[in-house]
């Protein structure tokens, strides 16, 4: 094979320049094991080498931010002595080859990021993106991914309370599976992934280590190398890279870790994710400015004959690394025994040593036996935080102007009845498979604008507050204008929170993009980050964490830019459910917010579902108008929050205008309630299907009182019509029976999946 001639560092995914850099750091030639460690840690997945310089432009500060980006999860102070941790990650590539296990291990991984901070995971969300369901493979992927999230999340005992479901050809061979987790803790339990205290022990908790996921971070995937320092020739059959999730192990791991933290037995703790032990040991040591000695022979193995590089880089699931004092070892091992969690001392913290210039450097040493032969010795921070960063070439796509000029405003109107029916999809088949109710916190579960949970859980101080979560994305907008598209996506998330009365407090994001070596993709990424920064600045939102997933390509084509935005909000008093979608006959139907989009087009259709379904993927995206959005969001949030606080209100139903436009929002409310609505006047067909955030459909039992409050807040409203009857009548464009709308929406997904109802 020609690969045999390839130098080892390249087989490990390192460039010639990167090898030079390693030589400079070490002041000598790296051995094979050391090269393998750099190979995984300097991979795109672990080092963010293409994106990091851009991510710095995101705002991360806020008075309530306890932990920003850089740790396993972001943490905010939610009040009442409770801190909320939140994180989002992708598990795209594993899910493409084994959808059940890929999705399941994605859930497992994101939970560990949250409980490693000391928080009990209380909610999961799952934004999912697949190709067209007409293709049998897509149906297999959807069923497998959903079953995997269900199988892992339900069993581990964390409610899955929401997510997203998008179908587009660009994801056909590269589905996106993102998972978000939020958890809560008493503020004083917050811990960081930091090693400290020379002589302290590094304890590996959880599963034994197998050959799972070696090359999961994609560097060893095509390696064939040999050496006498533990690196032997890789043989495909010996290298199963598919990880299998064990939710039962994870459940015990959660309980054991939270008990260890409650008992004050832990100095620092870190989950094992991508790049396994090498990542956890080098990151904790680097954050603490200390060194760490790791004994490869101490690690419990699932398979015989594993080599040091395999042990150090394995991505076996359900493992944690705790740093503890030697005195607490008896208590730690007793608690772990109760939960039947394996606990093994695999190393210890050592003092940093002076380098040639006298600077203290914490070294990661891999040894055979705790005092045995040193197999690798490298500065921990060089692995963890000092990968070379790239400012890769960026280029605005050449076809963008042509694409934007092809605006769908000239698309023939056709039958709005048919268009509307075709746009409706009830994702209930997905979320019915998720236990969304565990812990008795779920006031609004999946299927509405945002999930709303009581801020309560085992071990938390009493609170009347609630937290709200939403995940949003709009690859259709972002393909046309990644900057405005991403800004609008943030606005969409804030609007979703407003519908359940929550004020937005923090953002996390998962940036799913194509190949960063394509300048167009880097341009999209950079623009998206600027758009997110712009929106977050304008709305006063800190970004507390995120994840970047690159190299998402299908059949040689990059996916549309897909930044997924996760929003966390807080409701100060949650004693009654928010109004929801169910309206009542006789209520007045009001559009709240600016009726027209801010830009030159009153009702832009570029990037709308309506246009996309017609095969029109070009056009203009509405601009992001911060002033208008802020006022509308504050007003709606306040109106709903009063209902949540138990104050009597004339507001009876609330829904934001999102995907599917005004027609989509009204159809969803009608289908949910079984009661129709009649609107007499619309400013044209485009008003029905245009999608731009900042508009809400509200019903009120007292139009006059509601109008006065809106006027007082300086927010525009229009009385569109009144609720009642059994038909959805939208001027002279749509006239459908509510039961037909409900039936089509309810059956859309199962029909597309070719399942029997």
């Amino acid at each position: 094979m020609s690969r045999a001639a390839e130098p080892l560092h390249r087989a490990l995914g390192l460039t010639d320049d990167e090898l030079e850099e390693i030589r400079r750091v070490l002041g000598r030639e790296p051995n094979h094991l050391e090269l393998a460690l750099y190979g995984v840690m300097w991979s795109e997945h672990c080092s963010y080498k293409s994106s990091r310089i851009h991510l710095r432009r995101l705002p991360t500060e806020g008075s309530h931010v306890l932990v920003g980006p850089g740790e396993n999860a972001g943490v905010i102070d939610a009040g009442d002595g409770i801190a909320v941790a939140i994180r989002i990650e992708s598990h795209n590539h594993p899910s493409a080859i084994e959808p059940y296990q890929g999705a399941a291990t994605g859930v497992g991984g994101i939970l560990r990021d949250v409980f490693t901070m000391g928080a009990r995971p209380l909610a999961v969300m799952d934004p999912l993106f697949f190709g067209d369901l007409a293709d049998a493979r897509q149906r297999w992927l959807v069923e497998g991914v959903v079953a995997g999230i269900s199988g892992y999340g339900n069993s581990v005992g964390v409610p899955t309370v929401g997510g997203e479901l998008t179908f587009d050809d660009c994801y056909a061979t590269n589905p996106l599976v993102n998972v978000l987790c939020a958890g809560a803790m008493p503020v004083e339990r917050l811990v960081l992934g930091v090693a400290s205290g020379v002589g302290n022990l590094a304890v590996l908790l959880g599963s034994s280590t197998g050959r799972d996921g070696i090359g999961g971070v994609s560097v060893l995937a095509s390696a064939g190398f040999a050496g006498d320092d533990g690196a032997v020739s890789l043989d495909d059959a010996k290298r199963p890279s598919v990880q299998v999730g064990d939710p039962y192990e994870e459940k015990r791991l959660i309980e054991a870790c939270l008990a260890l933290l409650d008992g004050g037995h832990v100095v620092g703790i870190q989950d094992l994710g991508g790049a396994g032990i090498v990542c956890a040991t080098s990151e904790t040591a680097a954050r603490g400015g200390v060194g760490m000695d790791v004994d490869v022979t101490a690690i419990a193995l699932r398979e015989p004959g594993m080599q040091p590089y395999e042990i150090m880089t394995s991505e076996s699931q359900e493992r944690m690394l705790a740093i503890i004092t030697p005195e607490s070892w008896p208590a730690v091992s007793a608690l772990c025994a109760k939960w039947e969690v394996r606990a093994t001392v695999v190393g210890h913290v050592v003092a940093p040593i002076p380098d040639a210039n006298g600077t203290l450097v914490g070294m990661l040493r891999v040894r055979r036996g705790l005092d045995g032969e040193v197999l690798a010795e490298v500065p921990a921070s060089s692995l963890a935080h000092e990968a070379p960063l790239y400012d890769r070439a960026r280029r605005r796509p050449a076809n963008l102007d042509a694409l934007r000029a092809d605006d769908p405003s000239d698309e023939p109107v056709g039958s709005a009845n048919d268009d509307l029916l075709d746009l409706l999809v009830d994702p209930a088949w997905v979320y019915r498979q998720y236990d969304s109710q565990l812990f008795l916190n779920t006031v609004v579960g999946p299927g509405r604008d945002a999930a709303l949970l009581r801020l309560a859980g085992p071990g938390l101080p009493h609170s009347e507050r609630g937290i709200a979560l939403s995940t949003d994305s709009n690859p259709r907008w972002c393909a046309l204008d990644p900057r405005a598209g991403t800004a609008l996506t943030v606005a969409e998330g804030v609007a979703n929170l407003a519908c359940v009365g929550a004020s937005a407090k923090a953002v996390v994001n998962c940036l799913n993009f194509g190949n960063p070596e394509h300048p167009e993709v880097m341009w999209q990424l950079s623009e998206a980050i600027d758009g997110m920064a712009e929106a977050c600045d304008a709305l006063g939102l800190p970004v507390v964490g995120g994840n970047v997933s690159l190299y998402n390509e299908s059949g040689g084509h990059d996916i549309d830019p897909t930044p997924v935005v996760g929003l966390l909000g807080v409701v100060d008093s949650l004693v009654a459910p928010p109004p929801g979608w169910d309206w009542t006959t006789g209520d007045a139907l009001v559009l709240v917010g600016s009726r027209h989009a801010a830009g030159p087009d009153a009702f832009p259709l570029g990037g709308s579902r309506w246009a996309t379904r017609r095969g029109r993927r070009g056009g203009r995206v509405p601009p992001f108008d911060a002033t208008l959005l802020r006022a509308t969001f504050a007003f709606v949030t306040g109106e709903v929050a009063r209902v949540c606080a138990g104050v009597t209100s004339d507001v009876t139903a609330v829904h934001d205008v999102g995907g599917g436009g005004l027609a989509g929002a009204l159809a969803e409310m009608a289908a949910s309630t079984g009661v129709g609505v009649t609107i007499l006047d619309l400013e044209g067909h485009a008003e029905l299907f245009s999608e731009f955030p900042g508009r809400f459909v509200v019903t009120t039992s007292d139009l006059r009182a509601f109008s006065e409050r809106a006027r007082g807040a300086g927010v525009a409203i229009v009385h569109l019509g009144d609720v009642g009857g059994d038909r959805l009548v939208l001027a002279n464009y749509v006239n459908l029976s509510v039961s037909q709308v409900a039936a089509r929406r309810g059956a859309a997904l199962t029909t597309a999946l070719a399942l029997r109802a």
Binding site: A147, S150, G151, N154, S155, V156, G157, D246, P247, Y248, E249, K251, R252, K338, W339, E340, Y431, R432, Q433, Y434, D435, S436, Q437, L438, F439, L440, T442, V443, R454, G457, P458, L574, V575, A576, P577
Partner: protein, 227 residues
């Protein structure tokens, strides 16, 4: 105060919810680790929902061998009220404390949804405070919730009034629409739906209260009656 023991297996995940349900009705709920062998002092025992031992092999198959199950069997034999919710019901069936078995749902997916239950017997520690024919909206959350038993068992259940709850619209393929059954004495009851998740309108329904209320007061009432 009524003392309710909530058994915790490794892998249980509704123990807090069950304890909070009992506590809301004035009982004192205490967790009992699965290695416990002594249940004296408890007025009732709840086996909560979740995935005991990961539900590996079959739901309840490994949990049935946990040391606490011998104590639960003795407690039940002595007339103590025992309630198995969801996974707890599966454990009771596997242990032989209740007849039948729970198979995968007809649709082969996990189901989390509201169901309407009909009270079909009030002769049990779970349903004594309810009225016959009463309809209760209570959620289900399970993958293996299709109740199955052979013809003879079904006949016996019916003849002895041991089917305590039925689904109004069968969500999972349970035989005879069975959602919950009791043992001959009525002191051991299992059901797949989660009454502890239906304790407040803030969370969607308060219809579970009448069931848990029956349960937490059942021993007290019978003790009074005996005294």
């Amino acid at each position: 105060m009524v003392r309710i023991g909530v058994v915790v297996f490794p892998g249980s995940n509704c123990e807090y919810d069950a304890a909070s349900g009992a506590a809301q009705l004035g009982a004192q709920a205490e967790f009992v680790w699965h290695s416990a062998t002594d249940l004296s002092g408890f007025d009732g025992i709840i086996l909560p929902g979740g995935f005991a031992h990961g539900d590996y092999l079959r739901p309840g198959a490994l949990a049935r061998f946990s040391p606490v199950m011998e104590a639960v069997a003795r407690f039940a034999h002595d007339g103590g009220p025992v309630l198995g919710i969801c996974n707890g019901f599966q454990v009771l069936c596997e242990s032989g404390l209740l007849p039948g078995a729970l198979q995968k749902n007809r649709g082969l997916t996990f189901l989390c949804q509201a169901t309407t239950l009909v009270v079909t017997s009030t002769d049990s520690v779970l349903t004594s405070a309810a009225t016959l024919g009463q309809e209760l909206v209570i959620p289900i959350n399970h993958f293996s919730g299709a109740y199955t038993c052979d013809d003879a068992t079904l006949r016996a259940l019916r003849e002895n009034d041991r089917v305590v709850l039925r689904y109004k619209e069968n969500p999972n393929g349970s035989r005879d629409d069975i959602a919950g059954v009791a043992n001959g004495a009525g002191n051991v009851v299992g059901l797949m739906p989660h009454p502890e998740r239906a304790m407040s309108t803030l969370l969607g329904s308060a219809d579970g209260r009448v069931l848990l209320e029956s349960f937490v007061t059942s021993n007290v009432t019978s003790n009074v009656a005996v005294a």
